[in-house]
Subunit: 312 residues, 5 copies
Amino acid sequence: MATATADLKRSVTAAATRPTLDDLDLPLGKRVRLRRLLYGRGMKNGTLLILPIDQGLEHGPIDFFPNPPSQDPDFQWRLALEGNYNAVACHYGLARKYMTKYAGEVPLLLKINGKTTIPSDDEAFSSMTGSVEDAVSLGADAVGYTLYVGSPRQDEDIHQLQIVREDCDKYNMPLVVWSYPRGAAIEEKGGRDSLYAVDYAARVALEMGADIVKLNIPKHGPKDSEQPGDYVGIDYDYGEGARRVVESAGRCLVLFSGGSKLGDEDLMTKARTAMESGATGLIFGRNMWQRPFDDALAMTQSVQDMLQGYGA
Amino acid sequence: MATATADLKRSVTAAATRPTLDDLDLPLGKRVRLRRLLYGRGMKNGTLLILPIDQGLEHGPIDFFPNPPSQDPDFQWRLALEGNYNAVACHYGLARKYMTKYAGEVPLLLKINGKTTIPSDDEAFSSMTGSVEDAVSLGADAVGYTLYVGSPRQDEDIHQLQIVREDCDKYNMPLVVWSYPRGAAIEEKGGRDSLYAVDYAARVALEMGADIVKLNIPKHGPKDSEQPGDYVGIDYDYGEGARRVVESAGRCLVLFSGGSKLGDEDLMTKARTAMESGATGLIFGRNMWQRPFDDALAMTQSVQDMLQGYGA
Amino acid sequence: MATATADLKRSVTAAATRPTLDDLDLPLGKRVRLRRLLYGRGMKNGTLLILPIDQGLEHGPIDFFPNPPSQDPDFQWRLALEGNYNAVACHYGLARKYMTKYAGEVPLLLKINGKTTIPSDDEAFSSMTGSVEDAVSLGADAVGYTLYVGSPRQDEDIHQLQIVREDCDKYNMPLVVWSYPRGAAIEEKGGRDSLYAVDYAARVALEMGADIVKLNIPKHGPKDSEQPGDYVGIDYDYGEGARRVVESAGRCLVLFSGGSKLGDEDLMTKARTAMESGATGLIFGRNMWQRPFDDALAMTQSVQDMLQGYGA
Amino acid sequence: MATATADLKRSVTAAATRPTLDDLDLPLGKRVRLRRLLYGRGMKNGTLLILPIDQGLEHGPIDFFPNPPSQDPDFQWRLALEGNYNAVACHYGLARKYMTKYAGEVPLLLKINGKTTIPSDDEAFSSMTGSVEDAVSLGADAVGYTLYVGSPRQDEDIHQLQIVREDCDKYNMPLVVWSYPRGAAIEEKGGRDSLYAVDYAARVALEMGADIVKLNIPKHGPKDSEQPGDYVGIDYDYGEGARRVVESAGRCLVLFSGGSKLGDEDLMTKARTAMESGATGLIFGRNMWQRPFDDALAMTQSVQDMLQGYGA
Amino acid sequence: MATATADLKRSVTAAATRPTLDDLDLPLGKRVRLRRLLYGRGMKNGTLLILPIDQGLEHGPIDFFPNPPSQDPDFQWRLALEGNYNAVACHYGLARKYMTKYAGEVPLLLKINGKTTIPSDDEAFSSMTGSVEDAVSLGADAVGYTLYVGSPRQDEDIHQLQIVREDCDKYNMPLVVWSYPRGAAIEEKGGRDSLYAVDYAARVALEMGADIVKLNIPKHGPKDSEQPGDYVGIDYDYGEGARRVVESAGRCLVLFSGGSKLGDEDLMTKARTAMESGATGLIFGRNMWQRPFDDALAMTQSVQDMLQGYGA
């Protein structure tokens, strides 16, 4: 067992390499759309910086309190334009009603399932808020789907994702999976941010056919010892955890998320570590738009300066 | 009753014979695909050795710890090519992203339902991760479906399988059923590995229209006395248990699985007994790829040398 | 109340008459198929003797213990051929894989829903294992559907039956309903075999559009007094119970089942009483094939000699 | 050239053998229905005697003039019942309105395309008068389709037949093709009854997927020398011509038609020669029902006495 | 003009290179099936030798006169097996009824449109005789479609091909186009075998989305001067003509056909020239099966010995 853990540790510390578009063996239409996202906007070097604005649905307007102007979705759309983000990720309504001015300039990653935070997360499940056909008809370059890995309702979730994936195949729409461990069962096995949980979530997205997977970077926590088997006792730092789950995601491109707002230095460290660990890019929302427009632009610029160094 | 048990004992020890393709009365397209699997790869003698790589979804990346390179799905695809396996069994993502190099050489058995191990198995149910049409469009030679016999949700499962079976009939895609006793009810009737449970699972697959059924070999356990009726008190050894369930599977070809990793000698004994008992082949995953590549090739070779003796 | 009970008693003892095909006002295709079943095989006199082999799914291989050769479905198919049964009733797999030799000689009654006996019967529900289109494509002459009258899940069941009935109408496939009182609620109202329960089940099949209904003959039991209203206190013997439910089935032809294995004399008495009471025929499985082949043929012959006297 | 013709002559005179049901490699439902037609009615020896009543549509009521009672379709249905024909072949209306009395006794071969004789045959094409689904819902055991081989409209005809054939595959309904050379082009290449024409028609039915093909026996005519290539100069008698086209039909069962009314002795000679040449049976209409009922029954009996000798 | 002709001449004489599978940018399922055809049978070196048996429909049984045993389709299927052809090309009927013995060994290229030669070719059009779904359900590895380039009915033809191509995309079934100049218009522009005609046909197949195109090798003829523009006056020999049209076919693999029977030496020359000119393979029917079985095997062997030298 000691050996197994040692091997795993080695796997955790190995240098991670980002898959290229060629590695992904993409059908033509997906190649067109992904190439546009990766090389047609932002740094144009194969990295991604994506601005999500689905927090109004997922968390409620409470997220806009730190920066009231951010409540107007045009704030984020404008930020995405002026900040040269690779795409905005949002639900149908924010695309349909706010995107016109930016159409053809800021690409759209249409989020097609979601939920509010009001009921408990014990049986988490996000129902469809849009469709792959909506994405086609809005001119989006990808769709986003949230899968709650390990939720008691994962049976419905896996099946719903299968349908979405088949629709993506039909239209060659790139599929971005927000792969989130969630629900009562995972809380009893180390919790949603444990290495066990995130590692598993990365693999599930790969096996289900995601093109890009959005993950949180795993971190140590008080329930670490409740993780199954050899996960207990694995020592890893921030970068090692990130590298490990990038490896588990295999031929999926990985986006790491920012989560709730951090200090600027922490954010930059997080961002750099993520890229260092083999991520293709970042999806930063609250860390960007929970500050005044010009600050947000400046912070965006800092992140992009860093991304400049990770072209491929 | 004594007589019934004696008769049954006789049935258990009777010589088992493997059905031939002609026994199966196959429609043309199924015959094409099964003949290709059975006689076009591997030993080319009607036996099967199949390499499954669905454990990342079913158990999580923890299964790759004993041999970290196995985390890269290309490890298994390459093993299947160089080791001359009859097919790889995996979900959509691992076919879509990793099979290109092996296309047309290593046949694909597309697994089309699954789940993670995170929630409890009390109400086990595997939802669809792909479709028979996916299998056609990926050029697969069979689909795999997991049926949890006896689960409280078997009503959904049986119906879901019926739809899959009808799609298989439409395209003449061979149907492989992973027939697994599972759920709270079976645990109260002797448990998932009891003769009662596995015997029942074999028969259900037959009545539902499987072409091939994957079974575990039944074994004695502490809950044997909780089995219904005459199953209690049947004495059987490993080979007799295997033979019995091969008989119950009737005109379904039987694959026995390896389960978790065994010692090499035990594995070879298990494999030989399975074939001796009328199985058509073996589906060995962890026992193969949870070791370094060259060891895995060598072990594969040993099993195939043995399979050589069971041609038909 | 006394009068009502007396009337009911009269109804119970009245001579029952079997509906003719003309009474059923059949559309053309149903007439073709039912005439073939009733007059083209067996006694060719409008009676039915049907051999069911769905017990492997419904009860498990345990039902084959008393006569191990019966585990091979060919045993029953051969018995049906040599014993000149009117039809075999089985699920898709046993038709698809075992019927070829008997095609066009032994008619098929395709059972299209079912379940295993592993989980509790409290919320009994049988999901689809096949479809009316399967029946057409297998060349079947009827489909069989199990309705669990009074089960907590009867809402799903009634709806599922409606869909089947509409498909039967589309293809003019005769519909045979196994109408079984089942579930926790009926156990609190006299039990599944009470006159109340079976009488109700007969009527439900009629109202739902069955062409033939399969019933158990009601019998007195310890929970008789828990039956609703005037059912309590009705005295009836075996034949009177049978007659009563034949009347309730109205313009559905009635099949009585044999249930678990009886002594030969009891079986013949049961069979004769059933026919005397207006049944169209018998569906005898375990009572036939849970004995050696030649005994089974002989017993079949005895029953048919009796059926000879009930032509119409 | 002399050699080729000599070889052909040899092929023409070789003994013809009738394909068995096993030769046809039938799916289960087709096997059920064909076995019923071939072994469940008539001589029950694998021969066919079929009574067509589509002449009212194809030729008009003029065909009933020689025997006015034959104008009532019940005349033919009754003849089919009392004469023990293997099936009646007719369009939807004559089945829907006249078959009830005979349902389940006289099998139905539903003719599903047709035309009147009023316009010229130069661009012959028969449009659909029914569907394979009609056949299922009427309880028919086969469908009949008229293909006009070589007609200027054969493009529409071939495509229409393809759709019918696919529907037949869906429901496993046997497909009988009336394969008739027709149209201006064939009249310039030896005419519709030439060996060239009938031989070609037999092959086309085979390649299109017919289970049974109805042919006329080829005969010498004044335009023989206009046949293409080596067909000119082939000398063959009645039986040799029949044998030749039976060979060309390969694994299609062949029915020869009677055509317009002949003398009794000629008819018997024709019938015997047809069977001697490898036909599976006869489809005799006008030769049967253009005479009084009792004469028709007697003639039927004579033909069947002869068919008795060709069982298989 | 002189320069243009010179350039063209240069293009005609340039070395032709065969596209590889990678050049074709195939979706996964097409890659599986084409790799199987190109590397799983025959020389297993990326060359193709295909045996067509659609002449019975296209030309009539007259094509079998030179070798009467060839009239039985089993002759060709057996030749394909024993001669190790890469595939048989035939219509539905000859696959459905004759392929079972060879299923899974001899790949099937299902021809899905066709016509007879009886009506004039002035408005040539081949209607559907099968579908891409038929090909899937028969387990075929490709479909074949005949496009009559330049026919007055090419509008219908092009549209019909588009539907087929889309179905091929859905199931990833490789599409082989028999691209034949035909009809009154082409006869006025140099004729069906002119460089103009064949060159045009090659390009049309490429633009319509064929994976493989079957062409005749262009040849000089009396109507050469009626070709449009600069085609008049191009001098080319057999090999130069072949090379020219291979170039025009671009990223379609090219099959050259044998046409009517040649002397053995001529055939070998033709075959070698074809391969030398960049063809992927040959489709030889009458040149093979219009001779006794053993001669046919020997000739097959000679061609394959030659193909051995063109692996890639």
